[in-house]
Point group: C2
Chain length 209, copies 2
DNA sequence: GTCTATAAACAGATAGAC
DNA sequence: GTCTATCTGTTTATAGAC
Protein backbone atom coordinates (compact mmCIF):
# COMPACT_ATOMS: atom_id res chain seq x y z
CA UNK A 1 0.00 0.00 0.00
CA UNK A 2 1.58 3.32 -1.08
CA UNK A 3 2.04 6.02 1.57
CA UNK A 4 -0.51 8.50 0.26
CA UNK A 5 -2.79 5.73 -0.94
CA UNK A 6 -3.88 4.74 2.55
CA UNK A 7 -4.94 8.27 3.39
CA UNK A 8 -6.99 8.66 0.23
CA UNK A 9 -8.50 5.21 0.60
CA UNK A 10 -9.62 6.06 4.12
CA UNK A 11 -11.27 9.29 2.97
CA UNK A 12 -13.07 7.41 0.22
CA UNK A 13 -14.21 4.81 2.72
CA UNK A 14 -15.40 7.55 5.06
CA UNK A 15 -17.49 9.26 2.39
CA UNK A 16 -18.96 5.92 1.42
CA UNK A 17 -19.73 4.50 4.87
CA UNK A 18 -20.58 7.72 6.72
CA UNK A 19 -22.96 8.57 3.90
CA UNK A 20 -24.53 5.14 3.85
CA UNK A 21 -24.91 4.47 7.58
CA UNK A 22 -24.27 7.74 9.35
CA UNK A 23 -21.31 8.77 11.46
CA UNK A 24 -22.22 7.13 14.74
CA UNK A 25 -23.19 3.84 13.15
CA UNK A 26 -19.86 3.50 11.34
CA UNK A 27 -17.04 1.90 13.31
CA UNK A 28 -13.39 2.59 12.71
CA UNK A 29 -12.97 -1.11 12.16
CA UNK A 30 -15.36 -1.15 9.20
CA UNK A 31 -13.70 1.97 7.82
CA UNK A 32 -10.29 0.35 7.93
CA UNK A 33 -11.61 -2.81 6.32
CA UNK A 34 -13.39 -0.88 3.55
CA UNK A 35 -10.17 1.01 2.82
CA UNK A 36 -8.03 -2.11 2.99
CA UNK A 37 -6.03 -0.44 5.73
CA UNK A 38 -5.23 -1.05 9.36
CA UNK A 39 -7.33 0.18 12.27
CA UNK A 40 -4.49 2.19 13.69
CA UNK A 41 -4.02 4.04 10.40
CA UNK A 42 -7.03 6.24 11.16
CA UNK A 43 -5.53 7.52 14.36
CA UNK A 44 -2.19 7.95 12.67
CA UNK A 45 -3.40 9.95 9.66
CA UNK A 46 -6.34 11.89 11.09
CA UNK A 47 -5.90 11.72 14.85
CA UNK A 48 -9.10 9.70 15.22
CA UNK A 49 -12.56 9.12 13.84
CA UNK A 50 -13.52 12.80 14.14
CA UNK A 51 -10.49 13.84 12.14
CA UNK A 52 -11.41 11.49 9.32
CA UNK A 53 -14.90 12.95 9.23
CA UNK A 54 -13.50 16.45 8.86
CA UNK A 55 -11.16 15.33 6.10
CA UNK A 56 -14.15 13.82 4.27
CA UNK A 57 -16.05 17.10 4.57
CA UNK A 58 -13.12 19.01 3.07
CA UNK A 59 -12.83 16.52 0.24
CA UNK A 60 -16.54 16.97 -0.41
CA UNK A 61 -16.24 20.75 -0.65
CA UNK A 62 -13.46 20.47 -3.20
CA UNK A 63 -15.34 17.97 -5.34
CA UNK A 64 -18.54 19.99 -5.30
CA UNK A 65 -16.83 23.15 -6.44
CA UNK A 66 -15.10 21.19 -9.16
CA UNK A 67 -18.31 19.58 -10.33
CA UNK A 68 -20.57 22.62 -10.45
CA UNK A 69 -18.56 25.74 -9.78
CA UNK A 70 -16.85 25.79 -13.15
CA UNK A 71 -19.98 27.28 -14.71
CA UNK A 72 -18.80 30.72 -13.68
CA UNK A 73 -18.91 32.64 -16.90
CA UNK A 74 -18.75 36.43 -16.96
CA UNK A 75 -22.03 38.12 -15.99
CA UNK A 76 -23.98 39.30 -18.99
CA UNK A 77 -26.34 42.21 -18.76
CA UNK A 78 -28.99 40.66 -20.96
CA UNK A 79 -31.96 39.22 -18.98
CA UNK A 80 -32.47 36.53 -21.59
CA UNK A 81 -28.84 35.43 -21.38
CA UNK A 82 -29.02 35.35 -17.58
CA UNK A 83 -32.14 33.20 -17.76
CA UNK A 84 -30.47 30.74 -20.09
CA UNK A 85 -27.45 30.50 -17.80
CA UNK A 86 -29.73 29.88 -14.84
CA UNK A 87 -31.32 27.06 -16.78
CA UNK A 88 -27.95 25.61 -17.67
CA UNK A 89 -26.94 25.54 -14.03
CA UNK A 90 -30.21 23.88 -13.06
CA UNK A 91 -29.63 21.22 -15.68
CA UNK A 92 -26.09 20.60 -14.43
CA UNK A 93 -27.07 20.47 -10.78
CA UNK A 94 -29.96 18.07 -11.34
CA UNK A 95 -27.73 15.80 -13.35
CA UNK A 96 -25.01 15.97 -10.73
CA UNK A 97 -27.36 15.37 -7.81
CA UNK A 98 -29.10 12.42 -9.41
CA UNK A 99 -26.41 10.76 -11.48
CA UNK A 100 -23.13 12.65 -11.32
CA UNK A 101 -19.85 10.76 -11.08
CA UNK A 102 -19.49 9.71 -7.48
CA UNK A 103 -22.67 11.58 -6.59
CA UNK A 104 -24.23 8.41 -5.26
CA UNK A 105 -21.62 8.52 -2.52
CA UNK A 106 -20.80 12.17 -1.97
CA UNK A 107 -24.37 13.47 -2.00
CA UNK A 108 -25.62 11.12 0.73
CA UNK A 109 -22.57 12.06 2.77
CA UNK A 110 -23.45 15.74 2.48
CA UNK A 111 -27.08 15.10 3.37
CA UNK A 112 -26.01 13.18 6.45
CA UNK A 113 -23.78 15.99 7.56
CA UNK A 114 -26.61 18.43 7.03
CA UNK A 115 -29.03 16.29 9.02
CA UNK A 116 -26.57 15.61 11.80
CA UNK A 117 -25.23 19.13 11.96
CA UNK A 118 -21.76 17.73 11.52
CA UNK A 119 -18.62 19.69 10.67
CA UNK A 120 -19.50 19.23 7.01
CA UNK A 121 -22.14 21.94 7.26
CA UNK A 122 -19.66 24.69 7.95
CA UNK A 123 -17.30 23.47 5.25
CA UNK A 124 -20.12 23.11 2.74
CA UNK A 125 -21.61 26.49 3.50
CA UNK A 126 -18.57 28.68 3.12
CA UNK A 127 -16.84 26.76 0.35
CA UNK A 128 -19.86 25.85 -1.70
CA UNK A 129 -23.43 26.77 -0.70
CA UNK A 130 -22.87 30.46 -0.10
CA UNK A 131 -20.94 31.27 -3.29
CA UNK A 132 -23.26 29.20 -5.47
CA UNK A 133 -26.35 30.79 -3.92
CA UNK A 134 -24.86 34.24 -4.38
CA UNK A 135 -24.14 33.54 -8.02
CA UNK A 136 -27.67 32.28 -8.61
CA UNK A 137 -29.04 35.41 -6.95
CA UNK A 138 -26.96 37.51 -9.31
CA UNK A 139 -28.35 35.73 -12.34
CA UNK A 140 -31.88 35.89 -10.96
CA UNK A 141 -31.53 39.61 -10.42
CA UNK A 142 -30.38 40.12 -14.01
CA UNK A 143 -33.10 37.90 -15.43
CA UNK A 144 -35.84 39.81 -13.61
CA UNK A 145 -34.19 43.22 -13.49
CA UNK A 146 -34.40 43.34 -9.69
CA UNK A 147 -31.92 43.78 -6.86
CA UNK A 148 -29.95 40.49 -6.62
CA UNK A 149 -29.35 40.57 -2.89
CA UNK A 150 -32.89 41.52 -1.88
CA UNK A 151 -34.65 39.19 0.55
CA UNK A 152 -37.21 38.34 -2.12
CA UNK A 153 -34.58 37.14 -4.57
CA UNK A 154 -32.63 35.23 -1.96
CA UNK A 155 -35.75 33.36 -0.89
CA UNK A 156 -36.74 32.74 -4.50
CA UNK A 157 -33.38 31.10 -5.16
CA UNK A 158 -33.78 28.93 -2.06
CA UNK A 159 -37.18 27.78 -3.25
CA UNK A 160 -35.54 26.87 -6.56
CA UNK A 161 -32.79 24.95 -4.79
CA UNK A 162 -35.39 23.22 -2.63
CA UNK A 163 -37.02 21.76 -5.70
CA UNK A 164 -33.71 20.31 -6.87
CA UNK A 165 -32.72 18.95 -3.51
CA UNK A 166 -36.01 17.26 -2.75
CA UNK A 167 -35.77 14.97 -5.72
CA UNK A 168 -32.57 13.65 -4.16
CA UNK A 169 -33.54 13.74 -0.50
CA UNK A 170 -37.01 12.34 -0.99
CA UNK A 171 -35.91 9.92 -3.70
CA UNK A 172 -37.36 6.96 -1.82
CA UNK A 173 -40.77 8.63 -1.71
CA UNK A 174 -40.66 10.09 -5.22
CA UNK A 175 -39.75 6.89 -7.03
CA UNK A 176 -42.36 4.97 -5.09
CA UNK A 177 -45.15 7.42 -5.87
CA UNK A 178 -44.11 7.76 -9.51
CA UNK A 179 -43.93 4.03 -9.94
CA UNK A 180 -40.30 4.26 -11.06
CA UNK A 181 -37.85 1.42 -10.56
CA UNK A 182 -35.05 3.94 -10.15
CA UNK A 183 -33.79 7.21 -11.56
CA UNK A 184 -32.21 6.92 -14.99
CA UNK A 185 -31.69 9.35 -17.87
CA UNK A 186 -35.39 9.36 -18.78
CA UNK A 187 -36.45 10.22 -15.24
CA UNK A 188 -33.78 12.89 -14.93
CA UNK A 189 -35.06 14.43 -18.15
CA UNK A 190 -38.60 14.54 -16.86
CA UNK A 191 -37.57 16.09 -13.55
CA UNK A 192 -35.37 18.64 -15.29
CA UNK A 193 -38.14 19.74 -17.63
CA UNK A 194 -40.52 20.16 -14.74
CA UNK A 195 -38.13 22.32 -12.74
CA UNK A 196 -37.17 24.41 -15.78
CA UNK A 197 -40.84 24.99 -16.47
CA UNK A 198 -41.31 26.13 -12.87
CA UNK A 199 -38.31 28.39 -13.19
CA UNK A 200 -39.74 30.04 -16.30
CA UNK A 201 -43.05 30.51 -14.54
CA UNK A 202 -41.42 32.11 -11.51
CA UNK A 203 -39.21 34.41 -13.57
CA UNK A 204 -42.10 35.49 -15.79
CA UNK A 205 -44.26 36.34 -12.84
CA UNK A 206 -41.42 38.25 -11.20
CA UNK A 207 -41.04 40.31 -14.32
CA UNK A 208 -44.72 41.29 -14.17
CA UNK A 209 -45.13 41.92 -10.44
CA UNK B 1 -44.92 5.53 37.26
CA UNK B 2 -48.30 4.44 35.80
CA UNK B 3 -48.36 1.32 33.59
CA UNK B 4 -49.10 3.03 30.29
CA UNK B 5 -47.08 6.09 31.26
CA UNK B 6 -43.73 4.35 30.88
CA UNK B 7 -44.53 3.23 27.37
CA UNK B 8 -45.63 6.68 26.25
CA UNK B 9 -42.69 8.34 27.98
CA UNK B 10 -40.29 6.04 26.15
CA UNK B 11 -41.85 6.83 22.78
CA UNK B 12 -41.63 10.54 23.50
CA UNK B 13 -37.99 10.12 24.51
CA UNK B 14 -37.33 8.15 21.33
CA UNK B 15 -38.80 10.81 19.07
CA UNK B 16 -36.81 13.45 20.90
CA UNK B 17 -33.43 11.73 21.06
CA UNK B 18 -33.52 9.78 17.80
CA UNK B 19 -34.46 13.02 16.05
CA UNK B 20 -31.76 15.02 17.76
CA UNK B 21 -28.83 12.61 17.56
CA UNK B 22 -29.83 9.87 15.17
CA UNK B 23 -30.65 6.26 15.89
CA UNK B 24 -27.20 4.78 16.20
CA UNK B 25 -25.89 7.60 18.36
CA UNK B 26 -28.67 7.20 20.90
CA UNK B 27 -28.13 4.61 23.63
CA UNK B 28 -30.93 2.81 25.43
CA UNK B 29 -29.47 4.21 28.63
CA UNK B 30 -30.04 7.80 27.58
CA UNK B 31 -33.53 6.88 26.34
CA UNK B 32 -34.44 5.36 29.69
CA UNK B 33 -33.04 8.32 31.55
CA UNK B 34 -34.86 10.83 29.32
CA UNK B 35 -38.11 8.94 29.91
CA UNK B 36 -37.49 8.57 33.63
CA UNK B 37 -37.75 4.82 33.19
CA UNK B 38 -35.52 1.81 33.67
CA UNK B 39 -33.19 0.42 31.02
CA UNK B 40 -34.93 -2.91 30.98
CA UNK B 41 -38.30 -1.29 30.30
CA UNK B 42 -37.34 -0.83 26.65
CA UNK B 43 -36.79 -4.52 26.13
CA UNK B 44 -39.94 -5.29 28.06
CA UNK B 45 -42.28 -2.96 26.16
CA UNK B 46 -40.80 -2.98 22.67
CA UNK B 47 -38.54 -6.01 22.57
CA UNK B 48 -35.47 -3.84 22.16
CA UNK B 49 -34.12 -0.63 20.69
CA UNK B 50 -35.40 -1.48 17.19
CA UNK B 51 -38.90 -2.01 18.49
CA UNK B 52 -38.93 1.40 20.13
CA UNK B 53 -37.85 2.98 16.87
CA UNK B 54 -40.74 1.36 15.06
CA UNK B 55 -43.19 2.49 17.74
CA UNK B 56 -41.90 6.04 17.33
CA UNK B 57 -42.43 5.86 13.59
CA UNK B 58 -46.03 4.74 14.07
CA UNK B 59 -46.63 7.51 16.57
CA UNK B 60 -45.24 9.98 14.05
CA UNK B 61 -47.61 8.81 11.32
CA UNK B 62 -50.61 9.28 13.59
CA UNK B 63 -49.57 12.75 14.68
CA UNK B 64 -48.86 13.91 11.15
CA UNK B 65 -52.24 12.83 9.89
CA UNK B 66 -53.85 14.56 12.83
CA UNK B 67 -51.90 17.76 12.27
CA UNK B 68 -52.37 18.18 8.53
CA UNK B 69 -54.79 15.60 7.27
CA UNK B 70 -57.86 17.21 8.76
CA UNK B 71 -57.95 19.69 5.89
CA UNK B 72 -59.87 17.17 3.84
CA UNK B 73 -62.86 19.15 2.71
CA UNK B 74 -65.10 17.90 -0.10
CA UNK B 75 -63.63 18.41 -3.57
CA UNK B 76 -65.09 21.44 -5.31
CA UNK B 77 -65.25 21.61 -9.07
CA UNK B 78 -64.29 25.26 -9.26
CA UNK B 79 -60.63 25.82 -10.27
CA UNK B 80 -60.46 28.97 -8.19
CA UNK B 81 -61.74 27.16 -5.09
CA UNK B 82 -59.23 24.35 -5.63
CA UNK B 83 -56.42 26.89 -5.92
CA UNK B 84 -57.43 28.56 -2.69
CA UNK B 85 -57.55 25.22 -0.90
CA UNK B 86 -54.09 24.38 -2.21
CA UNK B 87 -52.87 27.65 -0.81
CA UNK B 88 -54.50 26.96 2.53
CA UNK B 89 -52.73 23.60 2.76
CA UNK B 90 -49.41 25.20 1.85
CA UNK B 91 -49.90 27.75 4.60
CA UNK B 92 -50.73 25.03 7.14
CA UNK B 93 -47.84 22.81 6.16
CA UNK B 94 -45.28 25.60 6.26
CA UNK B 95 -46.49 26.64 9.67
CA UNK B 96 -46.46 23.05 10.89
CA UNK B 97 -43.00 22.30 9.52
CA UNK B 98 -41.43 25.43 10.93
CA UNK B 99 -43.30 26.07 14.14
CA UNK B 100 -46.09 23.54 14.69
CA UNK B 101 -46.78 22.10 18.14
CA UNK B 102 -44.20 19.43 18.74
CA UNK B 103 -42.85 19.94 15.22
CA UNK B 104 -39.44 20.79 16.61
CA UNK B 105 -39.22 17.18 17.75
CA UNK B 106 -41.30 15.14 15.34
CA UNK B 107 -40.05 16.77 12.13
CA UNK B 108 -36.36 16.13 12.86
CA UNK B 109 -37.28 12.55 13.73
CA UNK B 110 -38.96 12.12 10.36
CA UNK B 111 -36.05 13.67 8.50
CA UNK B 112 -33.63 11.35 10.27
CA UNK B 113 -35.68 8.34 9.32
CA UNK B 114 -35.80 9.55 5.74
CA UNK B 115 -32.04 10.09 5.65
CA UNK B 116 -31.26 6.81 7.35
CA UNK B 117 -33.78 4.80 5.40
CA UNK B 118 -35.26 3.66 8.69
CA UNK B 119 -38.58 1.90 9.21
CA UNK B 120 -40.16 5.34 9.52
CA UNK B 121 -40.03 5.75 5.75
CA UNK B 122 -42.48 2.95 5.11
CA UNK B 123 -44.80 4.11 7.85
CA UNK B 124 -44.65 7.72 6.69
CA UNK B 125 -45.20 6.87 3.08
CA UNK B 126 -48.32 4.77 3.31
CA UNK B 127 -49.96 6.54 6.22
CA UNK B 128 -49.09 10.09 5.33
CA UNK B 129 -47.00 11.02 2.28
CA UNK B 130 -48.95 9.05 -0.31
CA UNK B 131 -52.47 10.19 0.71
CA UNK B 132 -51.41 13.82 1.13
CA UNK B 133 -49.62 13.82 -2.21
CA UNK B 134 -52.63 12.25 -3.87
CA UNK B 135 -54.93 14.86 -2.42
CA UNK B 136 -52.64 17.68 -3.57
CA UNK B 137 -52.59 16.17 -7.05
CA UNK B 138 -56.38 16.16 -7.05
CA UNK B 139 -56.52 19.83 -6.17
CA UNK B 140 -53.80 20.67 -8.69
CA UNK B 141 -55.72 18.86 -11.40
CA UNK B 142 -58.86 20.81 -10.62
CA UNK B 143 -57.03 24.12 -10.42
CA UNK B 144 -55.45 23.63 -13.84
CA UNK B 145 -58.17 21.52 -15.44
CA UNK B 146 -55.73 18.69 -16.15
CA UNK B 147 -55.57 15.00 -15.31
CA UNK B 148 -54.70 14.79 -11.55
CA UNK B 149 -52.74 11.55 -11.74
CA UNK B 150 -50.67 12.43 -14.81
CA UNK B 151 -46.89 12.28 -14.45
CA UNK B 152 -46.67 16.02 -15.03
CA UNK B 153 -48.99 16.84 -12.17
CA UNK B 154 -47.38 14.35 -9.79
CA UNK B 155 -43.96 15.85 -10.46
CA UNK B 156 -45.33 19.38 -10.12
CA UNK B 157 -46.70 18.55 -6.68
CA UNK B 158 -43.34 17.09 -5.67
CA UNK B 159 -41.58 20.25 -6.75
CA UNK B 160 -44.04 22.18 -4.61
CA UNK B 161 -43.39 19.92 -1.63
CA UNK B 162 -39.66 20.24 -2.20
CA UNK B 163 -39.87 23.97 -1.71
CA UNK B 164 -41.62 23.52 1.63
CA UNK B 165 -39.32 20.81 2.86
CA UNK B 166 -36.10 22.58 2.00
CA UNK B 167 -36.83 25.47 4.31
CA UNK B 168 -36.89 22.92 7.13
CA UNK B 169 -34.10 20.62 5.99
CA UNK B 170 -31.74 23.36 4.96
CA UNK B 171 -32.68 25.61 7.86
CA UNK B 172 -29.09 25.92 8.98
CA UNK B 173 -28.05 27.17 5.55
CA UNK B 174 -31.11 29.34 4.93
CA UNK B 175 -30.97 31.25 8.21
CA UNK B 176 -27.25 31.83 7.78
CA UNK B 177 -27.56 33.17 4.27
CA UNK B 178 -30.59 35.29 5.12
CA UNK B 179 -28.90 36.73 8.17
CA UNK B 180 -31.74 35.52 10.38
CA UNK B 181 -31.22 34.69 14.05
CA UNK B 182 -33.91 32.02 13.80
CA UNK B 183 -37.28 31.35 12.26
CA UNK B 184 -40.14 33.21 13.91
CA UNK B 185 -43.57 34.36 12.74
CA UNK B 186 -42.10 37.12 10.55
CA UNK B 187 -39.78 34.71 8.76
CA UNK B 188 -42.54 32.14 8.33
CA UNK B 189 -44.69 34.82 6.78
CA UNK B 190 -41.98 35.74 4.29
CA UNK B 191 -41.34 32.14 3.32
CA UNK B 192 -45.06 31.44 2.96
CA UNK B 193 -45.60 34.42 0.69
CA UNK B 194 -42.71 33.38 -1.51
CA UNK B 195 -43.98 29.84 -1.92
CA UNK B 196 -47.56 30.97 -2.55
CA UNK B 197 -46.28 33.35 -5.19
CA UNK B 198 -44.40 30.47 -6.83
CA UNK B 199 -47.52 28.33 -6.65
CA UNK B 200 -49.57 30.98 -8.40
CA UNK B 201 -46.91 31.31 -11.07
CA UNK B 202 -46.80 27.56 -11.67
CA UNK B 203 -50.57 27.19 -11.79
CA UNK B 204 -50.98 30.14 -14.14
CA UNK B 205 -48.40 28.79 -16.55
CA UNK B 206 -49.99 25.35 -16.43
CA UNK B 207 -53.31 26.89 -17.36
CA UNK B 208 -51.73 28.51 -20.43
CA UNK B 209 -49.55 25.64 -21.68
C1' DG C 1 -44.66 -4.26 35.45
C1' DT C 2 -40.43 -2.57 37.37
C1' DC C 3 -36.08 -3.12 39.16
C1' DT C 4 -30.74 -4.66 39.98
C1' DA C 5 -26.95 -7.12 38.39
C1' DT C 6 -24.47 -9.03 34.94
C1' DA C 7 -23.25 -11.15 30.67
C1' DA C 8 -21.14 -10.91 26.07
C1' DA C 9 -19.91 -8.11 22.42
C1' DC C 10 -18.08 -4.03 20.65
C1' DA C 11 -16.44 0.73 20.62
C1' DG C 12 -12.21 4.08 19.92
C1' DA C 13 -7.55 4.88 21.21
C1' DT C 14 -2.76 3.65 21.94
C1' DA C 15 1.83 1.39 23.08
C1' DG C 16 5.44 -0.69 20.97
C1' DA C 17 7.57 -3.94 17.48
C1' DC C 18 9.04 -3.71 12.82
C1' DG D 1 4.20 4.39 7.73
C1' DT D 2 2.13 0.06 8.94
C1' DC D 3 1.16 -3.57 11.89
C1' DT D 4 -0.38 -6.62 16.28
C1' DA D 5 -2.02 -6.71 20.73
C1' DT D 6 -4.27 -4.74 24.31
C1' DC D 7 -6.45 -1.29 27.46
C1' DT D 8 -10.53 1.01 29.03
C1' DG D 9 -15.08 2.23 28.63
C1' DT D 10 -19.67 1.52 26.72
C1' DT D 11 -23.07 -0.92 24.19
C1' DT D 12 -27.54 -3.98 24.02
C1' DA D 13 -29.74 -7.71 25.98
C1' DT D 14 -31.13 -10.74 29.62
C1' DA D 15 -31.73 -13.44 34.00
C1' DG D 16 -33.94 -13.28 38.15
C1' DA D 17 -35.55 -10.86 42.56
C1' DC D 18 -39.50 -8.25 44.03
Amino acid sequence: MPPEGTRQALIAAGIRLFGRQGYAATSVRSLAQEAGANIAAIAYHFGGKDGLRLACAEEFGQRMVGAIGQAGGPPANDPQVAREELKLIVRNVVRFLLSGPGASEIVPFMLRELAEGGPGVDAAYSSFAEPVHRRLCGLWGQATATEPESETVRLAVFSLIGQLMYFRIGQAIVTRRMGWAGIGPAEIDQITRRILSNLDAMLDREGQG
